[in-house]
Amino acid sequence: MSIRPRTPSLFRPHQPIDQNVLKENRKLIEAIDRRGVLRGTLTLGALTLLTGCDVSEEPAVQSALRAVSAWNDGVQSLLFRKNHLAPTFSPSQVVKPARFNAYYDIADVRPVDGASWKLELAGRIADKRPWTAQQIYQLPEQELIIKHICVEGWDYIGQWSGPNLRAFLERVGADLSAKYVYFICNDDYTESIDMATALHPQTILATKYAGEKLADPFGFPMRLRTSTKLGYKNAKWIKAIEVTNDFRETFWSKQGFNWFAGI
């Protein structure tokens, strides 16, 4: 199948931040010194360099910025309209194939074996028996033709179908008053969403794209698709779902991306 590989994406592994920054800055400072530019003056340019490279990583600044980000999580959950539907589109507008993105290259996708795959359930769920792919396929399907919006700024219209998450959680006797639904993925990715989003009518466990079984790069056999979150919240290759009241940082939130990431 022809899948368009992404040009530079932030969802690629970066070098461990600390060492890189030290190296970069040393070079930068030397360069400034050598040219004798900006020395002793706090010009606008120097201020930009300062802000751009150093300040965000200062522990005090970073913890302040993360505190604001956490505050923004709260604001976003207040702004969230529980039953407000995202715009939907017609099948003719669907982009095929879907657009790939992950924290690694498409060539590095490790396909999941559908025959041996099982969905594990954990936490505040009454019936924790694991599910096979066949069992999931037998559940009633819901189709969503919605926009996928990436934090980077690009978007595309996709056609996803699979069981509604709310219906699934009700079926397995999950505690719907719990705070979070947490997803653990086959590629060690983790993601979690607030319960209000999990119960939103446009949140599904997608098993199909454009009417066909999900291809490996897009989360086969099962992924999350919700119309009210940025792309990175939509965990792919889900292998376990946990319903919990404990907040845990997720793959991207650990690195400083906003946790709620609502749209």
């Binding site: 980000s69 407000h84 715009p87």
Partner: protein, 255 residues
């Protein structure tokens, strides 16, 4: 004489004299400067991850935030300062009548006159308290762009929650472009604004110290009273009766 004495004592009793830029306004101006600096620098970082114009990629040394997440963190921190300060500014300027006084009315005739003066290099900035038509339009325009950039920003942040507002602009990519163009307009405004502030340094000083004291009637300018100069014959200070007295200055010159 007695009136003079009263006048000089007045400031001690009465509240401080009104200045061109009252203290709250100056504070809001500089808070805004910082907020806009953060928003533009971090916005450029966010832009770089999915450029709108293929040839335009903001260099690393000019953006705020080394990694994407830092750019986003700064942007969603700066937005609070920009929006809250902006609301305070709009509320203040409407409540105190500053908008009405400074920015209105803008007449077409005044605009032509200003542009004409500017083209002939006759534009003066002797009086900081009165804005010419071009200034009025630029200030009003940048305020409107500021409102538009916040609205499009809200639509980019929450295209689903604010889907009704977002629908007014069009699809997500159109909103991005409008947001981007608003940024470009603000950058253009800042270039002109800062250049002119540096060319007319007293205007920059005024935004720090408050500038000239305003008198009761805002239309009247705080023109310095001509010094005790014996020969400023052209000054309007000498009205009709002064005409037949050409001898007057001489006794002063050699007492």
């Amino acid at each position: 004489m007695s009136t003079l004495a009263v006048k000089s004592r007045a400031p001690e009793i009465a509240p401080k004299p009104a200045r061109l830029h009252p203290l709250p306004l100056r504070i809001m101006h500089w808070i805004n400067a910082v907020a806009v600096f953060i928003m533009i620098g971090s916005g450029w970082k966010i832009y770089n991850d999915d450029v709108i114009l293929g040839w335009l990629h903001f260099p690393d040394w000019i953006v705020i935030g080394k990694w994407a997440q830092y750019g986003l963190q700064w942007h969603f921190f700066g937005m609070w300062i920009f929006v809250l300060n902006g609301i305070a500014y709009l509320g203040y300027s409407i409540a105190t009548g500053r908008f009405r006084q400074k920015l209105f009315p803008i007449t077409l005739r005044e605009l032509f006159a200003t542009v004409g003066d500017a083209l002939r290099f006759r534009l003066t900035h002797d009086d900081l308290t009165v804005y010419n038509a071009v200034q009025k339009i630029l200030y009003l325009g940048v305020i409107l762009v500021g409102i538009l950039i916040v609205m499009t920003g809200l639509c980019l942040w929450k295209p689903v929650q604010f889907s009704e507002l977002a629908a007014l602009f069009g699809n997500f990519q159109i909103i991005r472009i409008v947001h981007f163009l608003c940024m470009a307009a603000i950058v253009g405004f800042i270039a002109v604004h800062v250049t002119l502030a540096l060319l007319v340094p007293q205007s920059l000083v005024a935004m720090i110290t408050g500038g000239p004291v305003l008198h009761a009637k805002p239309a009247l300018v705080a023109r310095p009273v001509p010094a005790v100069d014996p020969v400023p014959a052209v000054e309007p200070a000498a009205p009709v009766p002064a005409q037949p007295t050409p001898i007057e200055p001489t006794p002063d010159s050699n007492p």
